[in-house]
């Protein structure tokens, strides 16, 4: 085959070349661009540049949070953290109701995470391993819901919440997010491969009913995926901004809402705002440092079949 002809990409079946006529090339050149290829210095330099760009804004948050506003806004911005971090944190704490905001964020994120894990594992198991009428199109419906932006329903949602007496309450943020289509999909993909039918059968022979099977067979098998889904859900719930910003108010904010309001103040003090941003980011950064590998693996495993 000449190089100019368009190389067919899909099944390039190499006919076993007659012995002796195989192109004579050093062995390592036969390796493709796949994972076997060793990264040269260029790869490291490029990654370092991108990595620097990824971390710089976070570092800059820390610098700004530990300085006075005048220093932050000076025509030559400071490059090293200063000594005012504690004072700025205290001021932010008082000005923006941050104490309450943190408690609220923890409540909201953990209840959303717990509910998502429970419901999505159940639904994911059903879609992965149970046969029932309408399974195919119901799964399609689940995935289709992924494409609906929250913007489309916030106006009536706001009115509903106020009608339910949840206006400005955490319930209005928690309830709409109790399930996630991504979670159902994620658990389904995992359980299709991780849960052998033999295991379910064995439990059935032992006389377990369906719910018993879920508790003593499915949940233990699903645990690794639930860990990952839990972390992803928590990150998302913690960082959610649009709907909480519309639904909650200054008296009862989550961290992100408090942050938004802090900056919308008449004359926001930038170093205080940055102190607030630092408080809202630090817990998640800690999670990333501890479980980075798991989160990376989770995003990649959720994506493969996407």
């Amino acid at each position: 085959m000449t190089m100019t002809s368009p190389t067919p990409t899909a099944p390039v079946k190499l006919a076993p070349s007659p012995r002796g006529s195989a192109p004579h090339r050093p062995r390592r050149f036969k390796m493709g661009a796949g994972q076997q290829m060793k990264g040269g210095p260029f790869a490291y330099i490029a990654l370092a540049v991108v990595g620097f760009g990824s971390l710089l804004p976070l570092y800059w948050t820390l610098v700004a949070a530990s300085r006075t506003q005048d220093e932050v806004l000076a025509s030559t911005p400071p490059f090293l953290p200063g000594g005012r971090l504690v004072e700025n944190l205290q001021t932010a704490w008082e000005q923006a109701n941050l104490g309450k905001a943190i408690v609220n964020s923890v409540i909201v994120s953990s209840s959303i995470t717990a509910a998502t894990l429970f419901f999505c594992t159940l639904a994911g198991y059903a879609f992965a391993k149970m046969r029932f009428r309408g399974r195919g199109w119901l799964m399609t419906a689940v995935i289709a819901t992924l494409t609906i932006p929250p913007q489309l329903s916030v106006v009536p949602l706001f009115m509903m919440m106020s009608g339910l007496g949840w206006g400005g309450q955490l319930e209005s943020v928690i309830f709409p997010t109790l399930v996630s289509a991504f979670g159902v999909f994620f658990m389904r993909q995992y359980l299709i491969e991780a849960l052998p039918y033999e295991l379910i059968e064995a439990a059935k022979i032992d006389g377990a009913n369906n719910f018993r099977i879920v508790v003593s067979v499915v949940l233990p098998v699903a645990r690794p995926a639930m860990m990952v889904l839990g972390m992803l859900t928590f990150v998302q719930a913690w960082n959610d901004f649009f709907w909480p910003y519309l639904a909650l108010n200054q008296q009862n904010p989550t961290l992100q809402v408090a942050l938004g309001q802090l900056s919308a103040a008449y004359t926001p003090d930038q170093s205080i705002v940055m102190a607030g941003a630092l408080i809202s980011t630090l817990p998640l950064l800690a999670v990333f440092v501890l479980f980075g590998k798991k989160i990376v693996g989770g995003i990649m495993s959720g994506a493969v079949k996407g």
Binding site: M130, S280, M300
Partner: protein, 334 residues
């Protein structure tokens, strides 16, 4: 989306009757009925919470939005709805600000999605090499994902400040005049795109990386035996194998860019945020909706905006579908 294809059903043997001594015929009948009911009802019981909650807080409000869009409702009196017909749609469709925000959303979407996905593709290619400390690099690249829109937007607001901003200071070192990022029509859109690109490139890179690792190595070996250079391998093996994933990320990013809210709201903060700049130069559809509903207190037009967004989304989905079909047919022609 490839994901919607149901996977092949594996054979599920029917539930066997318990092997124990049957106690009595009647009891056995009762038990097997119970079994069958359990088997029939359980799957629906397991998927019901998803559909109930989504129905109540997703689908129902989505449809109800259409009804509200035909009424006059104000933030101060949520209970009183007054029928006005198409007035709200009339109002927003004749509002130049609406069209500004449509085009802003579209432009910001393009200048954030295209470079983002290209860079992510390149990054994934780099990460796919055998690297020392590969997990370290992947985690570093992903860290912006841990930041919230609010924190990211606020930090970048400092970086993009006209005087004393980190970016202008750096540009000054190279000899450029300071740029008034938030005030310029293009620069403000660029600034918002950069926030989006910063937060999401690493995430997309990991998605591409996962797909790249699933490409069978034989393909590369075959291509290299055919004399394809590494660049040709990337173009002719990697990219085509990634096509479904690329389409998936395009869809996801497009939907994401339709929703841009926190970035423009907080770029300058305060009153500027609610109108997307003094000339609405970076007002997105979400900001427009927020401004009408929550800032001005008119929920009717806000609901109309939501329906306009739905129409736009369907339009984009249609175009995506057409492109996907075109790509597939042109592929089979080769």
């Amino acid at each position: 989306m490839a994901t919607s294809t149901p996977t092949r059903d594996a054979y599920v043997p029917p539930p066997r009757e318990p092997q124990k001594e049957p106690p009595s015929e009647r009891r056995q009948l009762w038990r097997s009925r119970l079994w069958r009911f359990d088997d029939k009802a359980s799957p629906y019981a397991y998927i019901a919470p998803f559909f109930l909650i989504f129905g109540a807080f997703g689908l129902y409000p989505l449809l109800y939005t259409g009804w509200i869009a035909l009424h006059r409702v104000s933030m101060t009196g949520l209970d009183s709805m007054e029928w006005v017909g198409w007035e709200n749609f009339d109002k927003i469709l004749h509002d130049p600000e609406f069209w500004t925000s449509v085009s802003n959303t579209f432009l910001i979407g393009v200048i954030s999605t295209v470079p983002q996905l290209l860079v992510a593709l390149g990054l994934a290619h780099l990460l796919n090499y055998r690297l020392r400390a590969s997990t370290f690099w992947r985690t570093i690249i992903l860290t912006p994902y841990a930041t919230s829109v609010a924190s990211a937007a606020l930090v970048f607001a400092l970086v993009f400040r006209a005087d004393g901003g980190l970016l202008n200071w750096t540009l000054g070192l190279v000899g450029f005049d300071p740029v008034n990022w938030a005030n310029g029509h293009w620069t403000s859109k660029l600034a918002i795109s950069i926030i989006v690109i910063w937060r999401w490139t690493g995430y997309n890179a990991l998605i591409y990386l996962a797909a790249m690792q699933a490409v069978p190595n034989d393909l590369y070996e075959a291509a290299s035996l055919d004399g394809a250079s590494r660049w040709q391998q990337f173009l002719k093996v990697t990219i085509p194998s990634l096509r479904p994933t690329i389409l998936f990320t395009i869809v996801i990013s497009t939907i994401g860019s339709m929703q841009l809210f926190g970035e423009p709201l907080l770029l300058e903060g305060g009153a500027m945020g609610a109108t997307g700049g003094n000339e609405n130069q970076y007002e997105t559809l979400s900001i427009y909706l927020y401004n009408y509903g929550w800032n001005l207190g008119h929920l009717g037009p806000a609901a109309a905006v939501a329906w306009a967004m739905l129409a736009l989304l369907l339009l984009i989905a249609g175009v995506n579908w057409l492109i996907g079909r075109y790509v597939r047919t042109s592929d089979s022609a080769v």
